[in-house]
Amino acid sequence: MKEAHHKADEKTYKFGMVIDLDKCTGCGACMVACMAENNLPFRKDNSDRLRSNLWMRVYKISNGRSFPDLDISFIPRPCQHCEGHGHHAATPCVSVCPATATDYSHETGIVSQVYTRCFGCRYCMAACPYHVRVFNWWDPTWPKGMSKYLNPDVSVRMRGVVEKCSFCYHRYQRAKNKAYAEERRELHEDEYQTACTQACPAGAITFGDLKNPEHKVYKLKKSPYAFRLLEKLGTNPKIYYVSTRDWVRKAGDVYLGKEGKDVTHA
């Protein structure tokens, strides 16, 4: 699936995140910032998480122990922008989309989703073990006047299509636009940051080019406390997490059912 999407002379990036779970307070600012930035719809009753439309979802996880030994941690989970490697050369969702509505950009390492191409078969959702993909079960609507705050840089989705976190790709487009206007091609680290990164009051999210030694993420991901979700599956995700708590790191792996009774959804 590795198509030459980029020209050899074009600067390429591998954007990713390092999320410090010791700092994350589960406040939810990332979720709201994401919703506001990306024109996510909302409904009168959003209490059903199984149908709720969240690109960034903060999981509240617990170590499953009893009072007073219970411990809780938060795991913000944007799209993992899996690269795949080795035996699984392609992103799980990209390879299965029948209509090429999602692809992996080798320029940025971002997994895209084109809503006008997607026809809603939801195969990609079945393929994603992180549940980052959400379906528009309803026609999105805004109460009167509310659509005024919609961001013109992100398309509003229609019913019946799958959507997910795009690493605020439009901000990359914006940054490049600015760079081009200034007749340069390379972006500085701070020129392109996602909405959640920017909003996080704890500064728990760091975003940047994972292969650029100048970028903060490059060093952070090498922390001995860093891990990735479902590392063993070989999805090669671009979100790294850092936690000094052992059980949290353990919870990041495939660790299912009864065997994983220590870790539950709190």
Binding site: M1, L50, R51, S52, Y59, I61, I75, A90, P92, S95, V96, C97, P98, A99, T100, A101, R117, C118, F119, G120, C121, R122, Y123, A126, A127, C128, P129, Y130, H131, R133, V134, F135, N136, W137, W138, D139, M158, R159, G160, V161, V162, L230, K232, L233, G234, T235, K250, A251, G252, D253, V254, Y255, L256, G257, K258, E259, G260, V263, T264, H265
Partner: protein
């Protein structure tokens, strides 16, 4: 034919057979339209109000519809496999049932496509799967092959229609039917080729999901092992479904339509293939246990959440696999009507259960340790829209049986 008591549409009947009064025919068609309308309402709700009218959700992007789709296609596998046996392997006796197998196939494939038309969120853009096809996707392979094979089935069904007593009087159609018959081995061979691919691809749909240890399988070239298992399971149960529907038709018609030896051939082949399938399936399961363990998912974890306990595995492979296989292998059971039907029923239920497992249980299995297991059961909209094809299928069968010469042996078995 006694013209005084013959139904008024008797001129359209195949030659030399008896059919019920038109009013009774009309009555049953009307009765079937009840549930059809419920299904139509469900469909319109899905299209008009969007898919929130179902119980599908982000954890279960695939539910009854996709499971049923896979199941229906497998059952419809009887069509291509009987065709294969008749025209390629040249088992002459099967000419007496191949027509009906085609009718059942047409219904199944139409059903599968119809269900997909409801299942996808943007039906108006469904054609993107062809226009913007991603060749790496199993679903693309499925879509292309199913569509092509459906056309093949229609071409196979066409001569049957043309053989209607009145249509056949028209020279052109008569000739067309004749030539189509002549070309049938070729068409059947094409159909077999296409079917192998899409049956396999449907098995591959969950098999390639390497993010889902429950579904993922290694395989041969680009195809996961489930690709081959799906083909095998489809040809092992398709004929049984043909037998079942034939038997049911006979019960409704109140007469024998196909000779026992024909049925027996199908049942015997089905049984042997089922044994082969089960051996491979068990091997696959053993290999899979190791594969899943390798990525950190212990076997027990897959059966930790009810309703998906170990019973699922035991039922699928044991009760709905080994038992029908044993029954079908025994000549004594096959000769016994009840035995044969029970075996066929178990076999078909097995295929449905297998497809439900590879589709729905795959979605049900939490992969992240902190994912919450949630259960899913379809709602009436899903059931009604899925079942609508059973009722439409029944109408199609009634029409076909009444006006088309589906059963060559009917006249011989039921002399007027």
């Amino acid at each position: 034919m006694d013209s005084a008591s013959a139904p008024f549409d008797s001129a359209l009947f195949p030659e030399g057979v008896k059919r019920c009064k038109f009013k009774w025919f009309l009555f049953w068609v009307a009765v079937l339209h009840g549930p059809i309308m419920v299904g139509v309402i469900g469909t319109l709700m899905c299209w008009g109000l969007a898919l929130n009218v179902t119980y599908l959700n982000n954890n279960y992007p695939f539910g009854l519809w996709i499971a049923a789709d896979l199941g229906i296609i497998a059952l419809g596998g009887g069509a291509f496999f009987t065709g294969f046996l008749r025209y390629v392997v040249n088992i002459e006796e099967l000419k007496n049932i191949v027509n009906y197998a085609v009718v059942i196939g047409v219904i199944c494939y139409a059903a599968a496509q119809g269900i997909l038309g409801i299942d996808i969120g943007q039906p108006l853009r469904g054609w993107f799967i062809f226009w913007h096809a991603n060749v790496h996707s199993m679903l693309t392979e499925v879509a292309f092959c199913i569509t092509c094979y459906f056309m093949v089935l229609c071409i196979e069904y066409l001569p049957l229609i043309l053989e209607n007593r009145q249509i056949n009087k028209l020279g052109f159609f008569h000739g067309l039917a004749h030539h189509l018959h002549g070309a049938m081995p070729t068409i059947a061979a094409v159909g077999v080729f296409l079917s192998f691919f899409h049956q396999g691809s449907l098995g591959g749909v969950p098999g390639v999901l390497y993010g889902r240890p429950f579904a993922f399988r290694e395989g041969f070239l680009v195809w996961p092992w489930t690709f081959f298992l799906a083909i095998l399971s489809a040809i092992a149960c398709g004929p049984c479904f043909t037998i079942l529907v034939t038997w049911f038709t006979e019960k409704c018609a109140g007469k024998q339509l196909v000779k026992k030896n024909v049925i027996d051939i199908l049942a015997k082949i089905s049984g042997r293939l089922l044994v082969l399938y089960l051996i491979l399936k068990i091997l696959d399961t053993i290999v899979w246990v190791g594969l899943a363990k390798g990525v950190g998912a212990p076997f027990s974890s897959f059966y930790a959440n009810q309703p998906y306990g170990y019973w699922v595995l035991i039922t699928e492979i044991g009760i709905l696999g080994i038992i029908p296989a044993m029954l079908l292998l025994s000549e004594r059971v096959r000769r016994n009507e009840a035995g044969l039907i029970i075996a066929c029923l178990l076999n078909c239920a097995g295929i449905f259960m297998n497809r439900w497992i590879i589709v729905v249980q795959t979605c049900a299995q939490p992969v992240m340790s902190f994912d919450k297991f949630v259960s899913y059961h379809p709602n009436w909209v899903e059931y009604a829209t899925t079942l609508v094809f059973v009722w439409v299928g029944a109408v199609v069968i009634m029409l076909s049986y009444r006006y088309l010469p589906i059963f060559p042996q009917e006249k011989e078995l039921n002399p007027l």
